[in-house]
């Protein structure tokens, strides 16, 4: 997929031979190496999208992964965004394209998650409870003991949390609803939902940190 994106982006380049040379080199290298090689070799006259792909790919991927936890899905989304940008905005410059790429990545993430949650609601893919997680984890055995302590602390924090805050967190994180949708359901404003979610997350992070200091010291 990555190679395809580069090829399509570079098809736009004035200097086709340079672009082709880069693609050959990248065939056996990882994207990271390719980016490093590109930095040193590519002429500054690359088309804007190719330059942005080089400089902004990691940032866009991180931006996407704040929502979409699956790395492969996130990469697909970012790469689709570049291809859509090439189709939709062939003549725009870097300054205009960068915010558009963020918007595209965000819209594609929203759609992706809607489909994901929609499937779950229709009973597909729920073979076990773990599949319902936004970000399923498979910790190593030695980590599991520590984790079970952490989960205990976290459960206590959840139990002590105001019910509205807890429900806002659940609908946000595990039902995939937007702040507006949660706001309607809980009869509060979307701004209140957003701050409820933030405070709920801060609350559990805070209790984990306090427990960590008490038991394991700063290293824990």
């Amino acid at each position: 997929m990555t190679k395809l994106v580069l090829q399509q982006l570079n098809a736009h380049a004035d200097d086709a031979s340079v672009a082709a040379g880069n693609i050959t080199r990248c065939a056996s290298a990882s994207l990271g190496q390719w980016i490093e090689a590109e930095k040193a070799l590519s002429p500054p006259s690359d088309p804007p999208l190719t330059q942005l792909f080089r400089t902004q790919y990691r940032q866009l991927l991180r931006f996407c992964r704040v929502r979409v936890c699956n790395e492969a899905d996130a990469e697909d989304i970012v790469q689709s965004a570049f291809l859509s940008a090439r189709r939709a905005y062939p003549d725009k410059g870097i300054e205009e394209l960068r915010p558009l790429l963020f918007t595209l990545v965000r819209n594609l993430s929203v759609n992706h998650l809607k489909l994901h949650w929609n499937k779950l609601r229709h009973g597909e893919d729920i073979s076990e409870a773990g599949a319902a997680l936004a970000c399923p984890q498979s910790p190593t055995p030695e980590k599991q003991l520590m984790d079970s302590q952490d989960i205990g602390i976290l459960e206590a924090a959840l139990a002590g949390m105001s019910p509205r805050r807890r429900e806002a967190l659940r609908l946000h994180r595990f039902d995939g609803l937007t702040y507006d949708e949660i706001a309607k359901r809980l009869s509060v404003s979307a701004t209140t939902v957003k701050s409820d979610v933030a405070e709920a997350v801060a609350e559990i992070a805070g209790s984990l940190a306090r427990a960590g200091r008490r038991t394991a010291g700063p290293a824990g």
């Binding site: 940032q59 915010p99 965000r106 609601r121 936004a134 957003k194 997350v201 801060a202 992070a205």
Partner: protein
């Protein structure tokens, strides 16, 4: 104090998480987040939030079945919801691109800036306020020992709250140190110009000890360039600070200097096409950003003709 500080950063990190999850989060929010995250203490706080979330994903809250009695959602409705989300998103992006700040739950960034022609008052965490003039940028780096602000570009008026930690402004090759006071710093022509309104400041090269430097009194101005300070001048404070009202007051200055000052506030640039004309002197009050008004006023009392092309307004001697 350290723990309290850290707890504050974790709260801020949680607000960033919530902000980045918003359906309308785009490049603006992301860039503001990255500025905030540049501080390693903030980055550590955000990692803590991510770790807490990954624990949350394995808690009972994740496994709890959805609330009972919810109607099954039909795909057609979902398409509608997605379309609505896209509209909301587009509006959100337009607001951000329009240069407006983000809504209040976002932690304040450490960098504040104004666009050409924009002015803005920023409240700092110690209660001090900064008024930024056109095309200006400050970076705020407060610690327990020192309230440090770097003026990277443009002009800013500081009204400083009294506190134990000194308030320090670094600009070009100058360092201005104050306790409770009001003063202005302007980065221009390779140096920094410091003007004192109230109280007392000392101006020194960066890295100088607290006791060193030239002490200014209210109404005095000092230019520092290339590590050397010029003479202390008396200024008319009302005129010098009239930019805060959006009016530029000129008293017997060269046309070239007036044009340079006016050009700070507008994308349209006034160019004086003739050296003799550039030396003409003028006085008056003009609205910042209104280049056309200035040029038409100019045409009333000087024999000039005006040529416009793109964003350039060329003022040349009339006739020939």
């Amino acid at each position: 104090m350290g723990e309290e500080d850290h707890a504050g950063r974790v709260k801020a990190a949680a607000r960033w998480y919530a902000e980045l999850q918003a359906p309308d989060a785009g490049a603006g929010v992301w860039d503001a987040f990255r500025v905030w995250e540049r501080d390693p203490r903030n980055a550590a706080a955000f990692r803590e939030i991510e770790a807490a979330l990954s624990t949350l994903d394995r808690s009972s809250l994740a496994a709890r079945p959805a609330a009972k009695g919810r109607a099954p959602v039909r795909p057609a409705l979902w398409l509608g919801a997605v379309a609505a989300a896209v509209v909301v998103v587009a509006l959100g992006a337009a607001t951000l691109l329009g240069g407006r700040g983000i809504e209040s739950p976002v932690p304040p960034p450490l960098v504040y800036a104004t666009a050409v022609g924009e002015q803005r008052v920023v409240e700092l965490e110690d209660g001090s306020s900064v008024q930024l003039n056109t095309a200006s940028r400050i970076e705020v780096a407060f610690t327990d020992e020192e309230r440090l602000v770097r003026l990277k570009a443009g002009q800013a008026l500081f009204e400083v709250e009294k506190a134990a930690a000194p308030f320090v402004v670094d600009a070009a090759s100058s360092r201005t140190r104050a306790l409770g006071t009001a003063f202005e710093v302007f980065v221009k022509s390779g140096g920094a110009q410091v003007t004192l309104l109230e109280g007392s400041v000392s101006v020194a090269p960066p890295g100088a000890a607290a006791g060193e430097g030239i002490v200014l009194e209210p109404g005095e101005r000092l230019m520092v360039a290339g590590g050397a300070a010029g003479p202390v001048e008396q200024v008319d404070l009302a005129a010098a600070l009239s930019w805060r009202t959006g009016i530029l007051q000129f008293t017997d200055i060269r046309l070239a200097d007036a044009a340079q000052e006016l050009n700070r506030y507008s994308a349209k640039q006034i160019v004086v096409g003739d050296p003799a004309l550039a030396e003409e002197r003028l006085s008056g009050s003009f609205k910042a950003g209104d280049q056309e008004m200035f040029v038409s006023a100019l045409a009333l009392f000087l024999p000039v003709e005006v040529h416009r092309s793109g964003n350039t307004i060329l003022v040349a001697p009339a006739g020939d």
